[in-house]
Amino acid sequence: MKPLAPISNTARIALGVLFFVLFFAAWGYATLGGYVSKTFLASPLTMVEEGWLLITRHGFHADIGVTIWRVVGGFALAALVAVPVGILMGAYKPIEAFLEPFVSFARYLPASAFIPLLILWAGLGELQKLLVIFIGSVFQIVLMVGVTVSGVRRDLIEAALTLGARGRGILVRVLVPASAPDIAEILRLVLGWAWTYVIVAELIGSSSGIGHMIIDSQALLATGQIIFGIIVIGIIGLISDFAFKWTNRRLFPWSLA
């Protein structure tokens, strides 16, 4: 292997799939071979079986739908607020000086620690779940978008100035388009984190969703169901990641990314 030497597309896919195969093989070997107690870890076959039952008998697809709705809803709310604020913060230094210290502080407040408080404020309904995701995502997005916008190449701004662009023109026609691909990339990243928050929110005081199913299964020692739930989250994450990447490539064909 030479450092940084490219590999063919077929080899890339084959190697990627190989890891999954090895992973499931090792898991199957450990469980089906009787090396790990069934109580603690279900075999891949049990997992698939229990997963199938979950969907056909217990309406698990409804839980999946609820969880997706919560993630997308909370995340969309956060993005709607955070992207404009982040852009303004990146573009205007007084706004940055005003907001940056607080946002940097708020970013470290763990969203999961807010859950008891949010339950007091918003009850156990959907609003509370959305708020957990909102709090978990909004400060991260503001800060990262701000840094991206303030890092736009100076010479592009200077070129625009010598072409007659002024304040608003620079903001709308230089800073925003120049940072748009990076902002999309930030959203992709934070959406991944939002998935973590939603499960935590659903583990506590919830009556639906993937997280709720996982907590229920724990009481029944149904490790197959728990693992099935976790894998479902992984698959949805992978799909949304692909969708984001695909959309970004379509939206920003000029970008090198």
């Binding site: 200077e158 072409l163 388009p177 000029w254």
Partner: protein, 257 residues
């Protein structure tokens, strides 16, 4: 046009301030092609940035047709050494950028863009993004973008500095051809003596720190100029003379560092 202009960059920490540009006077006639040549660090780029309004002078002022210059504006078009085309805009939209900022109607914009694409020999590339163009093509587009705005003066800061020799020679001819047809006022900064003589009707030689004007030479070579004049006797004599002027400066500059 330039009166007593100077720029002193304050020192960092306890470091001494940098006198980038000593008080300088320079008058540029309308439709003249003036090149400023000097060793690196002689303040020639600083002078150009001051005229563009991208930097503020420590003393003195700049007058453009009698009006003092305070900020960047579309009356002073600029082409930078780095590639500053907006990567998210096509060639056509890049050229139209300044017109759009001015509020020129779309139909007129399209017409101007078409003319300029023709003039810089990029027919068929109107819908290409900058990343799909070679360095020479990008700089041609940058020149068209600046000139489409019809500035009173065109400022060029070593625009061909990053290009290979062959491309650079072609670009010089293209720029000179445009000037011979359009008769714009041009101020062109370079460290390449041959380039300075070939393009200019007047060469200004600057000294190294602190930057001052050392010599001011009219170039009486006839127009239209063909690249073959670069090997002619008159050209060689001018080149020898200017090389000597700059060489002594470069030695001083190297010794003082």
């Amino acid at each position: 046009m330039i009166e007593n202009l100077s720029r002193i960059f304050p020192g960092r920490g306890r470091g001494a301030a940098t006198r980038a540009l000593e008080p300088t006077n320079l008058a540029i006639a309308i439709n003249d092609f003036v090149t400023i040549v000097g060793p690196s660090g002689c303040g020639k780029s600083t002078l150009l940035r001051l005229i563009a309004g991208l930097d503020r002078p420590t003393t003195g002022r700049i007058l453009l047709s009698g009006t003092p210059v305070a900020a960047p504006g579309p009356d002073r078009g600029m082409v930078f050494q780095s590639y500053t085309l907006f990567p998210w805009l096509t060639v056509a939209d890049n050229i139209a950028f300044g017109l759009r900022e001015k509020g020129v109607p779309a139909q007129r914009r399209r017409q101007v863009v078409r003319e300029w694409i023709e003039r810089i020999g990029l027919a068929g590339f109107a819908a290409h993004y900058p990343k799909e163009l070679s360095g020479g093509m990008q700089q041609r587009t940058a020149i068209a973008r600046a000139l489409a705005n019809e500035p009173a003066i065109l400022l060029l800061d070593e625009p061909f500095g990053a290009l290979d020799n062959q491309t650079r020679a072609l670009m010089q001819e293209l720029l000179l051809g445009i000037w011979e047809r359009e008769r714009k006022t041009v101020l062109f900064v370079t460290h390449d003596i041959e380039e300075a003589i070939f393009l200019a009707s007047r060469v200004v030689v600057m000294t190294a720190r602190p930057g001052r004007i050392k010599a001011d030479v009219r170039i009486e070579l006839p127009h239209p100029r063909h690249y073959t004049i670069k090997t002619g006797r008159e050209f060689s004599a001018l080149k020898a003379r200017l090389t000597e002027e700059i060489r002594s400066e470069a030695i001083l500059a190297a010794a003082s560092q």
